[in-house]
């Protein structure tokens, strides 16, 4: 039983689902990077236009 679990190989359908989940996670991470980049730019530009103490 333990040996079977160690040598477990997912079915082709399970592989396809796993691949699709991985693709969505990858795109989500790319979206997060873009989101953080734009947010940083927006905050930086607002700090430049209204500097601290100004």
């Amino acid at each position: 039983m333990a040996e079977d679990m160690q040598t477990y190989t997912p079915t082709s359908e399970e592989r396809a689902r796993q691949r699709k989940r991985s693709v969505v996670i990858a795109w989500s991470l790319v979206a997060l990077v873009i989101l953080f980049f734009i947010t940083t730019m927006v905050r930086l530009s607002s700090n430049i236009s209204t500097p601290a103490g100004g």
Binding site: M1, D4, M5, Y8, P10, E14, R17, Q18, K20, R21, V24, L35, I38, T39, V42, R43, S46
Partner: protein
């Protein structure tokens, strides 16, 4: 021999799936977020954001709405993880990903907690920490106070728990202002008072489901007639609450007229639920009220936006 090996392989596969999950599709994980509930949350949050006084950069506003939506979805995932046993017994929820066996509760917990933490942290860093703290409290209130405690212990579950669904416009408001005030509380109260008649109407025609699952909804504990009476009183109480945005100064007469007409129609449906006790019409009345209540919430918040647009453009 081959049969035995195949059987062992199958057992190994099932044990593996049980232990690690990994069977769910992207659509299953999307369903965990309760997208229909999320759409209502997004809409009411956008209203809160647009009605709040002060300026917010459009990108920051987008981040705020995104975080509120993700936080709401995370709450839904945590709710489904905890309620998998109840969901499996009710026709309305039996096909959700966890009772269907597509996603393991552990996967849903990890998914929900990750999104909760992510949405709160991003809201705090990108917008402000008042809104982030508010979002964190809302997720906690829905996932722990409502789901883990209230839902299974009291027929007042959705009265108190309804607060979780009423917070999103207040969170969005605090994303703009960094604070909470009476005007934002008026938006909260509209959803808060709307929640009991909305869910009790559902509970009236899904009576058997809740009975089977042992969820102490009002019709199962206090009886159908008592629930009808409560729906009627709560619907009447919605009238002054619907007028609060005008009193608080965030809406004018355009909203006032719309709110009056929409709430009058709500009360009319509630009266049908209360007064019709037997026959086909009596059976249909809670379904009609439930359907109308969804439209009502969209329409009343939509009329707040129309009112604001009218006042900004100076048409009237």
């Amino acid at each position: 021999m081959t049969d035995i090996r195949t059987d062992m392989m199958q057992q190994g596969r099932e044990a593996h799936s049980f232990a690690l999950g990994g069977k769910g599709t992207v659509e299953d994980f999307w369903a965990l977020l309760k997208p229909r509930v999320m759409s209502l949350v997004i809409f009411t949050a956008i209203c809160g954001l647009l009605l709040a006084p002060g300026d917010i950069h459009p990108w920051t506003a987008f981040i705020a709405i995104l975080c509120i939506a993700v936080g709401a979805g995370a709450s839904g995932a945590l709710n489904m993880a905890y309620d998998a046993d109840i969901d499996a017994q009710m026709g309305r929820t039996a096909k959700r990903p966890i009772p269907r066996g597509a996603i393991e509760p552990g996967e849903a917990y990890i998914f929900g907690i990750t999104l909760s933490v992510g949405s709160v942290v991003v809201l705090g860093l990108a917008v402000n920490w008042v809104a982030a703290a508010f979002l964190a409290f809302t997720i906690f209130f829905y996932a722990v106070i409502y789901t883990a405690y209230l839902k299974r212990s009291t027929p007042q579950n959705i009265v108190i728990g309804g607060a979780a669904g009423a917070f999103p416009p207040m969170i969005a408001w605090s994303a703009v202002t960094g604070s909470v005030d009476m005007a934002s509380v008026s938006l909260f109260l509209i959803i808060f008072m709307w929640t009991p008649p909305h869910f009790w109407a559902l509970a009236l025609f899904r009576f058997g489901d809740y009975e089977t699952a042992g969820v102490p909804m009002l019709p199962n504990v206090a009886g159908v007639d008592a629930t009808r009476k409560q729906i009627w009183w709560y619907s009447l109480a919605m009238a002054p609450v619907a007028a609060l945005p005008v009193v608080a100064g965030i809406a004018g007469w355009v909203y006032g007229v719309a709110a009056f007409a929409l709430t009058a129609r709500f009360i009319w449906h509630a009266w049908a639920v209360y007064s019709l006790r037997e026959g086909e019409k009596a059976e249909r009345a809670p379904k009609k009220l439930f359907g109308y209540s969804i439209l009502y919430l969209f329409a009343i918040f939509g009329s707040l936006l129309v009112d604001r647009a009218v006042s900004l453009t100076g048409w009237i």
